[in-house]
C-alpha cells in the first residue's frame, strides 16, 4: 500500500494551469452580466473568476479553493457604496464632511486591512484546510497609522521600514489550518530595495539632464537655433521606461523578500521574481490591453499568474499531510469589499 502521506515531502514547484481562452469566457461573461445588472452580478462574477484562478494555481498536486459566498461580497459592496458614496455626496453640500470622510478612511484603514485579510483567508482552502488571519486591530493601527505617521514626519525616510512592518504584520498573523505563519524578513531587505530604486531614479534624472544639455549644446554648435523634437521626446521615453523598471524592481524585490520570509511550520517558500521579466510583463500586458480595447485583460491576468507561479517553489521538511486543520467561524465580507472599492493592496 503506497503511503500517500509521504508522497509530497521535499520540493514542489507551483504551477498555473489556467488557459487564457477559458478564463476569457468567464471574464467576459462576468463583465457583460455585471453591466446588464448594474453591478449586482459583479459579486458572483468575482467569485467565479477567482475560483478559476485559484483552482489553477497548483502545488504538490492540488489547486486552491476559493469559497467566498457571493452574497457576502454583494453585501460588503453595497455597504461600501452607501457609506462612502453617501458621505462623498453629502460632502458636496457640507464640505466639512469631506474632511470627515478622509479621517474616517484613515481610522478605518487598519480595520479594512484586518477584515479583508480575514475574509480572504477564511475563504481560501488548500486540500480541504482553510487559511485564517488573526491580526488584531490594535496592532494593525500601530503599524498602519503609527508608523504611517512616522513616515510622513520623517519625509518618507522610514518608508522601507513601514513596508517591512506591514508585510510582517500581514504574514505573521496568517495561519494554514492550525499552523501559524511566521515572518522572517531580513531587516535590511526592504531598505536595500528602496535605496537602490531611489539611486536608479536619481541617476536617470541626472543622466537625462546631462543628455539634454549636451544635445542642446551640439545643436547650438551646428548652428540650428531650435533643438530637434526628438530631444524632448527621447528623455521622456527614457524616464518612463526607468519608472516602469523601478516599479517592477520594487515589486519583484519586495515580493521575493516577503514570500521568502514566510514560514509555515515546516514549509518555506522560494520566490525568484525577476525585475526585467516583471517589467516586460507589465509593459506588454498594458500595450496588449490598450491595443485590444481591453479584451486582452483576461490573457494578461493569466500570463501574470503563470509567471508568478513559475517563480514560486514550496520547500517542506515534513509531509504536507501532517499539517492539521482548525475549527473556523463564520466570515464577514465587508472588510474585503470596502478595501476592494479603494484598491487597498493588502496582498502578500
Amino acid at each position: 500500500m503506497p503511503d500517500v502521506r509521504s508522497a509530497d515531502e521535499g520540493i514542489s514547484q507551483f504551477e498555473f494551469t489556467g488557459r487564457a481562452g477559458d478564463y476569457f469566457r468567464i471574464w467576459i461573461v462576468s463583465l457583460c452580466l455585471s453591466l446588464l445588472t448594474l453591478g449586482v452580478y459583479s459579486a458572483w462574477g468575482k467569485v467565479r473568476k477567482r475560483r478559476y484562478l485559484y483552482a489553477h494555481t497548483r502545488v504538490a498536486g492540488d489547486g486552491f479553493d476559493y469559497r467566498a459566498p457571493p452574497l457576502s461580497i454583494l453585501r460588503g459592496r453595497v455597504a461600501a457604496v452607501v457609506l462612502f458614496g453617501g458621505i462623498a455626496l453629502a460632502g458636496h453640500f457640507i464640505p466639512l464632511l469631506q474632511v470627515l470622510l478622509f479621517v474616517l478612511f484613515v481610522v478605518l484603514l487598519p480595520w479594512l486591512v484586518v477584515a479583508s485579510a480575514r475574509f480572504n483567508a477564511r475563504n481560501t482552502a488548500f486540500r480541504g484546510i482553510t487559511f485564517g488571519f488573526d491580526g488584531r486591530l490594535g496592532e494593525a493601527a500601530a503599524v498602519f497609522i503609527g508608523i504611517g505617521v512616522l513616515v510622513i514626519v520623517t519625509f518618507g525616510f522610514l518608508y522601507p521600514y513601514y513596508r517591512r512592518k506591514r508585510a510582517e504584520f500581514v504574514v505573521a498573523h496568517h495561519r494554514f489550518g492550525a499552523t501559524q505563519f511566521t515572518a522572517d524578513i531580513p531587516t535590511s531587505a526592504f531598505t536595500v530595495i528602496y535605496l537602490m530604486a531611489f539611486l536608479m531614479l536619481m541617476g536617470t534624472v541626472v543622466l537625462s539632464i546631462v543628455g539634454v544639455l549636451g544635445a542642446l549644446a551640439l545643436a547650438g554648435m551646428s548652428g540650428r537655433d531650435e533643438a530637434p523634437a526628438a530631444l524632448s521626446v527621447l528623455p521622456m521615453i527614457a524616464i518612463y521606461a526607468v519608472y516602469l523598471f523601478i516599479f517592477a524592481y520594487i515589486r519583484a524585490g519586495t515580493g521575493n523578500a516577503t514570500l521568502n520570509g514566510t514560514l509555515i511550520g515546516p514549509i518555506r517558500l522560494r520566490s525568484s521574481l525577476g525585475a526585467w521579466s516583471l517589467a516586460w510583463l507589465y509593459l506588454s500586458n498594458a500595450l496588449a490591453i490598450i491595443a485590444s480595447l481591453g479584451l486582452a485583460t483576461a490573457w494578461a491576468t493569466v500570463r501574470m499568474a503563470r509567471y508568478r507561479a513559475q517563480r514560486l517553489v514550496l520547500v517542506t521538511t515534513l509531509p504536507l499531510a501532517t499539517l492539521a486543520g482548525a475549527a473556523d467561524s463564520s466570515a464577514n465580507a465587508t472588510g474585503s469589499e470596502v478595501s476592494d472599492l479603494f484598491d487597498v493592496d493588502v496582498s502578500l
Partner: protein, 338 residues
C-alpha cells in the same frame, strides 16, 4: 449507477486521498485506501460549477471531495441555482463570449452616444442663470488674457453699434443681459459666452457691409447662448465626474468647466443641429426686429470667400472652424428671407 474518481480531503489534515465515489441509495460511498465511508447525500453541499474548475463537494465538518467529473456531479445534484447554470452555459461557449463582447460594445456605445449627451443636456438645462453668468465671465477673462486685444474701431462707430444692439436684445425672454464687446483679434470672428457676453472682432465689423449683416451674425450667436449650446458641448465632452459635480453645484466642478470653456469655444465646432437651431432662432429674431435673414446669407458668403483666400495657419481662431457653414445653411437663410 453513477461513480466517479475524486480526491478526498478530510478536513483534519492536509492529506489527499484518491478515492472512488459512487451513489448508493441516499448515501455516497467513498472508497479508497481506508475503510469505505458512507456519507449521507444531505450532508454534502455541492459548489456552483465553473467551467474548467474541479467540482468541490463540501462536507459538514470542513472536509471536501474534489473531482473533475462535472457530469457525474451534475447527475447527482441536478438542482442548482438557475443563475449558476446560466453562467456556466455562457462561460462554456465561445458563441456566448462573442455575444457578450457585442453586448458590451453596444452598451458602451449607448452610454457614450446616447446616455452621456442626454445627461449632459439635462445638466445644462439645470444650471442656474447665476452660474451661467459667472462661467461666462470667467471664460471671458481668460480669453482676454490670451487672445483678445483692445479694439481699434472709432468710438463713434462702437457707440452706434452698441445702441443698435441694445434695442436688438432688449426683449430677451430669459432675462439675460446681453453685452456687446469689441475686441481686436486675427481675422473676422464673433462668438458669445454663456451669460450673454457677445464678442465681435474688428475684422468682422469691417467685413460686414451693413449693420443688418452684423446684427445677423450677432443674432446667430445669441441663438447659441439661448440654446446653451456652449454649455452643452462642454458638458458632453467633460465626462461623468464633471457632470455630477456640475449638477451638485460644486465649486470645483464649475471651475473645471469654466477653465475648459474657452478652448471648447475656439477649437470644437458646433454640431449641425446646434447651428440650425441657432440659425432658426436668429432668423426669427431678425424678422421680429424688421431685418431680413438675407443679410445673414450675404455675410456668410463673404466670410467663406474671405477665409478661402487666407493662407495663414490660425485655424484656431477662425469663425468658420467653430461655425461650419454649409451651402444648405445659406439656402435656409435665403428661404427664410423670402
Amino acid at each position: 449507477m453513477t461513480s466517479f474518481a475524486a480526491t478526498l480531503f478530510d478536513g483534519q489534515n492536509a492529506a489527499r486521498w484518491p478515492v472512488r465515489v459512487s451513489a448508493s441509495g441516499d448515501d455516497l460511498l467513498v472508497e479508497g485506501e481506508f475503510d469505505a465511508l458512507r456519507i449521507p447525500r444531505a450532508a454534502i453541499v455541492p459548489d456552483a460549477p465553473v467551467p474548467g474548475v474541479p467540482r468541490v463537494l463540501r462536507l459538514r465538518g470542513g472536509g471536501a471531495i474534489e473531482t473533475r467529473d462535472h457530469a457525474a456531479v451534475e447527475s447527482l445534484w441536478p438542482a442548482q441555482s438557475a443563475l449558476a447554470r446560466f453562467a456556466f452555459r455562457m462561460e462554456s461557449s465561445w458563441r456566448a463570449a462573442a455575444g457578450a463582447v457585442v453586448l458590451i460594445a453596444a452598451a458602451v456605445t449607448f452610454i457614450i452616444v446616447v446616455l452621456l449627451p442626454g445627461a449632459a443636456d439635462e445638466v445644462a438645462d439645470r444650471i442656474s442663470m447665476d452660474a451661467e453668468r459667472s462661467l461666462g465671465k470667467y471664460a471671458f477673462g481668460s480669453l482676454e488674457e490670451s487672445f483678445l486685444k483692445p479694439t481699434a474701431l472709432p468710438e463713434a462707430q462702437r457707440d452706434e453699434l452698441t445702441q443698435k444692439f441694445a434695442s436688438f436684445v432688449a426683449d430677451d425672454p430669459d432675462g439675460r443681459n446681453y453685452q456687446l464687446v469689441f475686441r481686436s483679434a486675427p481675422g473676422p470672428n464673433a462668438f458669445a459666452l454663456p451669460g450673454g457676453i457677445v464678442v465681435v472682432t474688428d475684422d468682422m465689423v469691417k467685413l460686414a457691409k451693413s449693420d443688418s449683416e452684423l446684427l445677423a451674425v450677432l443674432a446667430h450667436e445669441i441663438g447659441h447662448v439661448r440654446g446653451r449650446h456652449a454649455l452643452r458641448l462642454l458638458l458632453r465632452q467633460s465626462g461623468v465626474f464633471v457632470l455630477v459635480t456640475a449638477l451638485a453645484g460644486d465649486a470645483v466642478g464649475m471651475t473645471i468647466l469654466a477653465a475648459a470653456l474657452p478652448t471648447i469655444l475656439l477649437e470644437s465646432s458646433y454640431s449641425r443641429q446646434f447651428e440650425q437651431d441657432a440659425d432658426d432662432e436668429a432668423f426669427a429674431h431678425l424678422k421680429r426686429h424688421g431685418y431680413s435673414p438675407q443679410a445673414f446669407a450675404d455675410l456668410m458668403r463673404r466670410l467663406q470667400a474671405a477665409e478661402k483666400s487666407r493662407t495663414d495657419d490660425e485655424r484656431f481662431f477662425r469663425y468658420l472652424s467653430s461655425h461650419p457653414v454649409t451651402a444648405e445653411r445659406i439656402e435656409r437663410a435665403e428661404a427664410a428671407a423670402r
